[in-house]
């Protein structure tokens, strides 16, 4: 009854769920719903309702007064007009998209590379690598953003000092925050650094799920490292890669504390993303209706951005 009694699985075709097709018994029909019930209830009540309420709020004027007094003032599309009427909105949206793309690509590619690295090193080195990744992942945001600001500080930062020591004297007193672009580059570095551990661990865990026989078979076939990756590793982790790409996309698109803490959207609004815009236009002035409208627009952009992805992910669920 054990796995080893199966013939070695040589064909690196990703295994697909087939159980359901073969084992349909009466009485089992209710099973999936029972299993899903706790999660469904939780999501509908604890996330669904707040999200719906944000949607409704986006059509209301909800400043401090209305909030405190519990008043409901409908204003139709006013909040959306205020947000979309601002000429910077589209610049900020485009900037956020570019920023997100940079973060996601760097995080996923980097994470995949680190995961492969983890698979190929010995136990001791792997533990060292894993511990250092967890350290990066576990560092509180406040500490991480502060430490990054120190490392990149123009007078006292260890980075500039190190570059000067390496002979690049033009970096003496170099400021990394003079333009929106280079400020965002520092933020991308920070977010990638924080994001890679999660991706690496997830993909590494996915690789561990691949039975060793598949690798052995590939080795017997004389496959090179790259061929083994293509033939064995990649098919096994592909659903996970899609998943982490999707999740990184959601998180990086919305990320706020790190972007704000670095330079408060500056210089001159040059590192303002949509999340910052939501804060500046809505939350800072207690215009929660406007904040909600930005939030809804962000969700719409995200849905648009991931529509293809969503469709692919859902279609992959269809049983052939």
């Amino acid at each position: 009854m054990t796995a080893t009694e199966n013939p070695p699985i040589v064909t690196p075709v990703p295994a697909r769920p087939a159980v359901a097709r073969r084992h349909r018994r009466p009485g089992v029909a209710a099973l999936p719903y029972l299993l899903l019930a706790p999660a469904t209830l939780t999501l509908l009540v604890l996330l669904g309702w707040p999200v719906l309420s944000v949607l409704l709020t986006s059509f209301r004027r909800l400043d401090l007064r209305e909030l405190v007094q519990g008043k409901v003032v409908w204003v139709g599309l006013d909040n959306y007009r205020a947000v979309l009427g601002d000429p910077t909105f589209w610049t900020v949206t485009l900037r956020t998209l570019a920023f997100t793309a940079a973060c996601v690509i760097a995080t996923v590619v980097g994470g995949l590379a680190v995961a492969v690295l983890m698979r190929h090193v010995g136990r001791a080195v792997r533990t060292v690598l894993q511990v250092s990744l967890v350290l990066a992942w576990a560092m509180p945001f406040l500490a991480a953003t502060t430490v990054f600001q120190w490392m990149f500080d123009q007078n006292y930062g260890i980075l500039d000092k190190t570059l000067v020591r390496l002979g690049l004297t033009s970096f003496a007193g170099h400021s990394w925050f003079t333009t929106g672009f280079s400020t965002l580059a520092v933020i991308v570095t920070l977010i990638t650094w924080q994001g890679i551990p999660f991706v690496a661990f997830t993909l590494f865990a996915g690789m561990l799920g691949v039975p060793a026989e598949q690798y052995e078979a590939a080795a017997i076939d004389g496959a090179s490292g790259w061929q083994t990756f293509r033939a064995v590793t990649w098919p096994a982790v592909r659903p996970l890669v899609t998943l982490v790409t999707f999740l990184s996309l959601l998180w990086d698109f919305k990320v706020f504390p790190q972007v704000w803490a670095m330079r408060e959207g500056g210089p001159d609004g040059g590192s303002t993303t949509l999340a910052v815009l939501q804060y500046v236009k809505g939350i800072a002035g207690s215009h929660f209706g406007v904040a909600a409208a930005v939030a809804v627009l962000m969700i719409l952009v995200l849905v648009g951005l991931t529509a293809q992805n969503l469709r692919l992910m859902l279609r992959a669920q269809e049983y052939r």
Binding site: D63, R65, V68, N155, A284, S286
Partner: protein
């Protein structure tokens, strides 16, 4: 306007209604009442608040004071949500630039009738103004602080400077002397002045006779394009260039903390608050005997430049169920006893003109002198978000100091941004 009054009336009605059912809802066991007081971390020393709370509960048997110190981080959200709760705090502290926003929204109790009761004759004018909205008083001044120039006496003596500068011209001349006397120290900075210290910029603009915005009727116009405002910006630039400060041009005094820089011992002057000096002394105890302070000099010899008066007000949320007790609490706080303790702790007291407690330290004395010329930012609910959002004054300074924009172009941009924010 009409709608507004209607809402205030509505707010008052709600407040009355909730006050009526106070004994049923929030107040706890055995018929005793609880007065919830939220003050900010670092506002008043624990010795003061302990004594105040004890005296209050002694004078009001059966009333328990639930005193909670709040952190600044996230305070806006914390206050906003707390005010919507069924049992909001009864006394809250609000930053003075934050007050108008809460007052305009009808979330605070009108204190106009209690001003006399609360030692109103001695209120610090600039703070009083910051708690006023539409002719009514919604908050009582708590304490204030303002910037002075904190300097190293030993370095001044070494450069042959005998008295603190009495004018901008002398200040610039002293900077040259300091630089000459310390030419051998490669890390030396005569004045540490980060590019975005916009409160200091306000001093220079006000000193030149300008302002950020002016009120006409109900509306505000940004006035940064006026020659006086430009003169203030130009002086800031002149100061940065003359002092050769290596402070970053794209941050304020918090990144890195200028007190930490001052503590290194290579800086002769910084423009800061008393506790920034305290921070520097804590890191480098030697500094305590070597430092002094003087008010920010003016372009007019012998005067001090106007300064931004930062600080806090205390207010009673409109939904408080113990408004009368809360007023009693404010009354106690506004009295001479606790006000003098505030002064001794190093703040300009909000409801007392007696600042003698500050004279114990040189920086306190300089602060009290300068506070007489204290001013505040435009009193409109629109200002708070400008400050806590992407402050156009900061971007303007960076653009000018890095040479990205001329003063004319930079002030024009900032003027537009602030004008939009104030009208929008």
């Amino acid at each position: 306007m009409k709608r507004w009054t209607k809402l205030v009336v509505g707010a008052a009605a709600v407040a009355l209604a909730t006050a009526g059912c106070g004994s049923g809802g929030g107040s706890s066991d055995a018929g005793g009442k609880t007065l919830t007081v939220w003050l900010m971390s670092g506002s008043a020393p624990t010795s003061l608040t302990d004594a105040l709370n004890k005296e209050f509960s002694d004078a009001h048997p059966g009333v328990k004071v639930d005193y909670r110190v709040q952190q600044w981080d996230g305070i806006q959200q914390k206050l906003t949500t707390a005010l919507t709760s069924n049992n909001p705090p009864d006394v809250i502290e609000l930053g003075n630039t934050q007050t108008a926003q809460f007052a305009e929204q009808g979330t605070l109790l009108d204190l106009s009738d209690s001003v006399n009761d609360l030692n109103g004759g001695q209120w610090l004018p600039a703070l009083k103004e910051s708690g006023t909205w539409d002719g009514k008083q919604y908050a009582m001044p708590f304490y204030a602080a303002n910037r002075t120039v904190i300097y190293r006496k030993d370095l001044f003596a070494k450069a042959g400077i005998t008295a603190p500068p009495a004018s901008n011209a002398e200040w610039l001349a002293d900077i040259d002397k300091l630089k000459a006397a310390n030419a051998t120290d490669p890390d030396f900075q005569a004045l540490y002045l980060p590019g975005q210290e916009w409160y200091t910029l306000l001093s220079f603009i006000w000193d030149a006779g300008g302002d950020v915005a002016k009120q006409s009727g109900k509306s505000w116009q940004a006035t940064l394009e006026a020659p006086e405002a430009k003169a203030g910006v130009a002086f800031y630039q002149q100061l940065v260039n003359a002092s050769g400060t290596r402070a970053p041009k794209d941050t304020d005094e918090a990144k890195p903390q200028q007190s930490d820089v001052f503590a290194q011992g290579h800086v002769a002057m910084m423009i800061g608050l008393p506790w920034e000096l305290a921070g520097a002394v804590k890191a480098n105890p030697q500094l305590s005997s070597q430092t002094g302070a003087f008010p920010i000099p003016s372009r007019t010899a012998g005067q001090a430049a106007p300064v931004f008066l930062g600080g806090s007000n205390v207010a009673i949320p409109a939904g408080s169920k113990n408004a009368d007790l809360a007023k009693q609490y404010l009354k106690l706080l506004s009295g001479a006893k606790y006000q003098s303790q505030l002064a001794r702790a190093g703040s300009v007291p909000g409801t007392s003109t007696d600042t003698s407690g500050l004279d114990a330290t040189e920086v306190g004395a300089a602060m009290a002198r300068a506070a007489r010329h204290g001013k505040v930012t435009p009193i409109t609910p629109k200002w708070g978000p400008i400050e806590s959002g992407e402050n156009p004054l900061k971007s303007m300074l960076t653009a000018v100091l890095t040479g990205q924009k001329s003063i004319d172009a930079a002030t024009a941009d900032a003027n537009r941004a602030i004008g939009q924010a104030l009208s929008g």
